[in-house]
């Protein structure tokens, strides 16, 4: 008798992966919590988090939008103005330290810095540089929008049963003089870059873990019942400032995020981790869920991830290869819509800086 003799089939590579068609691999996630459709979900994070929000809405889960567009605005205009992309208009929150920064603003621990970016008579929010197409008409308008976004973010924390956060990057940019973080390097989407002021930080494991731990504690201080579902974005870095090759930089970044998510999930009762990252990235899937640029995730990949999510959630997971009842599949129309709906990702703008280079 030894500890391996009575393990579940999913514990053995040969049974769970090696002898199974990739699309039949299941049971990758055993939810910690009995999530049901009526639970209130809020979604934030990197670009990939948008897929989760859409999928929750598409399956009639109670995805909460605390900062909705004005009633009557067209879907196209809502997307243009970044409404309904996340549960409030934070834009992408790529790093755990940026999530902590937003949380401290929402808690009133820190004041929002008074920095404003200006270009051609329009005003840009350094913490959401692409939130308003063409920028704001005035500083006062930009500040008012910031206040609404922060108030809404707090409301999301207060009302959510589940805070779903997709961790995206470890590479980050800080204001060296004042210590706060930007979601994007100044001078890319908007603003001006100053090497004396703007500092690059590739966050190590300890910094990411500490930021997430503090964030969770702060949010639990606002809403003692809130639970967290973490994911790691499978989308590689558009560009790296680390000095490393972008492929190894991506591996470092995702490895740190995955390790932090795993540790938080293992050590904190109110935190769970859903392996969307593994479902897309794992070698067993042969990279088939990536678009030809080997970066973007295909609609098929997104569907596969979200189908897995809902199958696991409804308890439809059994050892391979038994067939069981499954959650409803996305309709063809939903898949088409997913294909059409490009994500709102500021980070993708960095690709423009590759233009004109070799290859």
């Amino acid at each position: 008798m030894n500890p391996y003799e009575n393990l579940h089939e999913n514990s053995f590579w040969k049974l769970a992966v090696g002898a199974v068609a990739p699309e039949q691999i299941n049971g990758l996630w055993t939810p910690k919590f009995p999530m049901v459709q009526s639970d209130r979900f809020v979604t934030y994070g990197s670009c990939f988090a948008q897929h989760i929000g859409r999928a929750l809405k598409g399956r009639a889960f109670n995805w909460v939008n605390v900062e909705p567009a004005p009633q009557g605005m067209s879907d196209e205009s809502q997307k243009k103005f970044n409404y309904g992309v996340f549960s409030s208009r934070t834009a992408n929150i790529y790093t755990s330290t940026l999530l902590l920064q937003w949380t401290k603003w929402a808690c009133g621990i820190d004041e929002v810095p008074d920095e404003v970016w200006q270009d051609n008579g329009r005003f840009y929010d350094p913490f959401r540089p692409a939130i308003e197409p063409g920028g704001f008409a005035s500083i006062a308008e930009m500040r008012a929008s910031q206040r609404v976004a922060i108030t809404s973010f707090r409301k999301a924390i207060e009302t959510a049963d589940y805070f779903v956060f997709t961790m995206g990057l470890t590479e980050s940019w800080f204001n060296a003089e004042r210590g706060y973080e930007y979601p994007m390097c100044p001078g890319t989407v908007a603003g001006d870059f100053s090497p004396e002021i703007h500092t690059f930080v590739n966050q190590p494991f300890g910094q990411v873990l500490a930021a997430m731990t503090e964030t969770i504690a702060l949010m639990r201080g606002i809403n003692a019942k809130i639970r967290f579902l973490l994911t790691v974005s499978p989308v590689p870095l558009t560009a790296t400032k680390s000095g490393k090759h972008v492929l190894t930089a991506t591996t470092y970044s995702k490895s740190v995020l995955r390790a932090v998510a795993g540790q938080l999930s293992d050590q904190i009762d109110c935190v769970d981790y859903f392996p969307s990252y593994e479902i897309i990235v794992a070698p067993v899937f042969g990279g088939k869920f990536y678009e030809p640029n080997r970066r973007g995730v295909t609609a098929q990949g997104v569907s596969f991830v979200m189908d897995s999510f809902f199958k696991c959630l409804t308890g439809a997971v059994q050892p391979v290869p038994r067939q069981t009842e499954t959650a409803p599949e996305m309709t063809a129309a939903q898949r088409d819509q997913a294909t059409r709906d490009a994500l709102n990702c500021e980070e993708a703008v960095l690709e423009a800086y590759a233009q004109g280079r070799k290859r």
């Binding site: 004005p70 009557g72 605005m73 008012a144």
Partner: protein, 261 residues
């Protein structure tokens, strides 16, 4: 002679009543000639300006309004078509034959409360509110009618008027009272957004509104118990006056309102 065309929604009828009443009192310049074309209910959605021509699109087999039987809409359509033919002699009206052309209605104000609500919340930027107005205008019969599908075509200047909002006599209407100032703000936002789309919209005659800024004053109710959408001829004369004031040469003469008797 100054030739003017007023076409659009059923509200055109009250403007025409005002015109003929003023004409009967010799209160208008004698060489002023007005043609009126009213397309009631959903028939307004069948009016289309292409280049300098106004025409009526084909009759629908199913009308997008469940409130009346198909026969009623067909009758309204036939009446509109007959009127168009009576004015032009054909099924198409050449707008270049007029000194001024006015379009009235098209649900431009139908969603004004949503715009007001968004503006009053303070949660939205000016660009966002402008986009909201653009979205509403883009979905309106007004835009469907006046949008030039062929950008290169010769066109004719058309000035537009907002349709009246409902009467304060409407039973059970809300107690929402934004005040005249907020109505005016919404009205200005819509006009500015429409201008960015290339449309010229005349200022709505604010004297038609009640003090709460949420409905047409009882003074201008048409007297029909089941009709809270249309003005009386006195109300129509206010709209007529804003139109004629925009016709070159007429404003200076001083334009009258239809008196109450």
């Amino acid at each position: 002679m100054t030739k003017v065309l007023v076409f659009g929604a059923s509200h055109v009828a009250q403007v025409s009543m005002a015109f003929y009443a003023l004409r009967a009192r010799n209160l208008l310049p004698p060489d002023l000639h007005l043609d009126f074309l009213s397309a009631p209910g959903p028939v307004i959605g069948r009016l289309k300006v292409a280049g300098p021509y106004l025409r009526l699109l084909e009759k629908l087999s199913k009308w997008p309004d469940p409130n009346f039987p198909t026969e009623t809409f067909n009758l309204w359509y036939d009446q509109t078509q007959a009127r168009l033919t009576a004015i032009s002699g054909t099924d198409t009206l050449d707008l270049r034959t007029y000194d001024a052309v006015f379009y009235l209605g098209g649900q431009l104000l139908s969603q004004w409360r949503l715009i007001d609500k968004a503006h009053a919340s303070g949660a939205y930027s000016t660009a966002c509110l402008d986009q909201l107005c653009l979205d509403f205008i883009s979905r309106s019969d007004f835009h469907r009618c006046l949008k030039q599908d062929d950008a290169g075509a010769e066109s004719c200047r058309i000035l537009s008027s907002f349709e009246p909002i409902h009467s304060e006599l409407l039973p059970d209407y809300e107690t929402f009272k934004p005040g005249l100032g907020r109505f005016a703000t919404t009205h200005d936002l819509l006009r500015a957004s429409a201008a960015r789309m290339g449309y010229e919209i005349l200022a709505f005659p604010m004297e038609l509104l009640n003090e709460a800024g949420n409905a047409i004053s009882v003074t201008y109710h048409n007297g029909k118990a089941d009709d809270y959408g249309h003005l009386n001829p006195q109300g129509g004369s206010h709209i007529l006056r804003t139109m004629l004031a925009a016709v070159p040469g007429l404003a200076a003469a001083g334009l009258p309102l239809l008196p109450f008797e």
